[in-house]
Amino acid sequence: MFEMEIVLPAVLNGIATGAVYALVALGLTLIYGVLHIVNFAHGSLLMLALYGVYFLYTLLGIDPYVALPIMVPVMFALGYALQRSVIATASHGREDNILLVTLGLSIIIDNLALYLWSADTRTINPSYAFDTVDFGIAFIAVPKLVSFLGALLVTVLLWLLIQRTDLGKAIRAVARERHGARLVGIDVEHIFAMSFGIGIACVGAAACLLLPSYYAHPGVGESFVIVAFTIVVLGGMGSFVGALVGGIIIGLTESLGGLFLGENLGRIGIFVIFIAILLFRPAGLFGQRAT
């Protein structure tokens, strides 16, 4: 079972998948880093985005990758609106309530999807879906390769946005010291909403990259939310580098877990890591905040 000829492809697969997970987690860690809220609806919004990409493909014939410039702004707007209108008002700013409000949102979104689109798994079949690139040691599916590259690109863009733009500066200011930021004239509520919006825009990008090798299903949100949280906690809440590294680690865990423990038991690796990090090192690999 330890032959390189099966372990190496599994490793490569895991890294590619992990990069897309990282993309989802980046949005989540940004939201936590700035707003200090644990967005339980993150997975559900990814699920929604996956359906968006699915319908764009089946109804309008738009290829998932081509759909990026559509999905990203749409999801951004949705995120902005949700934070501004629902989350901020319903939780009255109380942190313990925010988790519950986002839980409520995830219940609504997941089940609205179930009601509208039923529980059948929706896959798309673009011509390149089962094409592979021969890397000598392994055949890697084309969609996986594209999603890996896409994830790296988005990470770079996000980093540039946060580090090199005025908006990014404002976001960093609010993240570090929101009252001070308010005092120097930054519209904190707007920055909150912008950050949430950017986080959800990342989710939109992730959906475009993910659908060709994955599927849309109302339950997808549930499974992704825990993966995303594991990565954020593993990497350290608020750390981009952490999210990327954490994502790849989790992708590898999932792939190798599935290979060695079977498809049923394989998923356990992720949760064991999650519990272990929460118990023994809640600040994560790169995080600075203590519990």
Partner: protein, 316 residues
Amino acid sequence: MKTKGALVIALLVALIPLPLLVHSDFWLHFAIMTLYFALLGQAWNLLGGYGGQRSFGHAAFFGTGAYAAAMLQLDFGISPWAGLVLAGLLGAAAGALVGALSFRYGLRGSYFALVTLAFAEVFRIVADSVPFTGAGVGLQIPLRQSAANFQFADKAGFYAVILALTVLATGLAWWIENSRFGAALVAVRENENAARALGIDIDRTKLGAILISGALSGLAGSFYVQYYLYIDPRIAYGVEVSVAALLVPLIGGTGTVLGPLVGALALRTLNEVSGGLTGGAPGLNLVLYGALLIVILAFLPDGLVSLVTRLRRRHA
């Protein structure tokens, strides 16, 4: 508020003769399900409402009780009634495991919620993978109706059992409101540091709460198995159960004796009404629950029960 507890129990006792008046299976099923969710909700309430430790993974305790009840009958031939008791004990044990780890490492708030969710998922994956629990196939209890076998041909039998269990859970909530342990628990909820300064053993108090909460959840699990005669990893340890456990008290009113009952009744009624309106498409009732949760959090954070006190205050 404290005398209310006695009234609630009196109300439940008054419900005992219900099956004599109602012969419709449909209504009995409604009553049974309402009490069942009240039981589950009260279990969560003891830890999350009075204790302030809001778990997102109560399925871990429920499912352990359910599987225990099923496996003890199927593999060891133990009477399902003994299985009920053991389910409660094993549910408490699961609570002890989760609690010991989480509280020892000081997990609170969102972190506690997430770690309980992760535990429930671990249990689900294990149950899904090992032949011991029937893996993905699940476990089916053979149909053998008799009171001794905890399978009643007449729904009134199940009603009696769930009513008794709900009285037990409600009684425990009442006890918590009136006991030193309960006072300590609420103190821990309100301000851990102050509580510690008062000499309260934080970990022990929380552990006590999770033990009772786990036990009641395990009992609910055992009842489910006897009522539906089937259990599998998704039903036992899936997110649906955990969400139900917290929705009921949050909507009814956490930290109160009556809250989970009101919450269960409200949600079951909403369930039936929405079913009639939508003609059966899955999911809509949960959409309404989620919306109701947000509305409650926004406008009535102390739950439906607080409507009464608010109205009373206005007319005072």
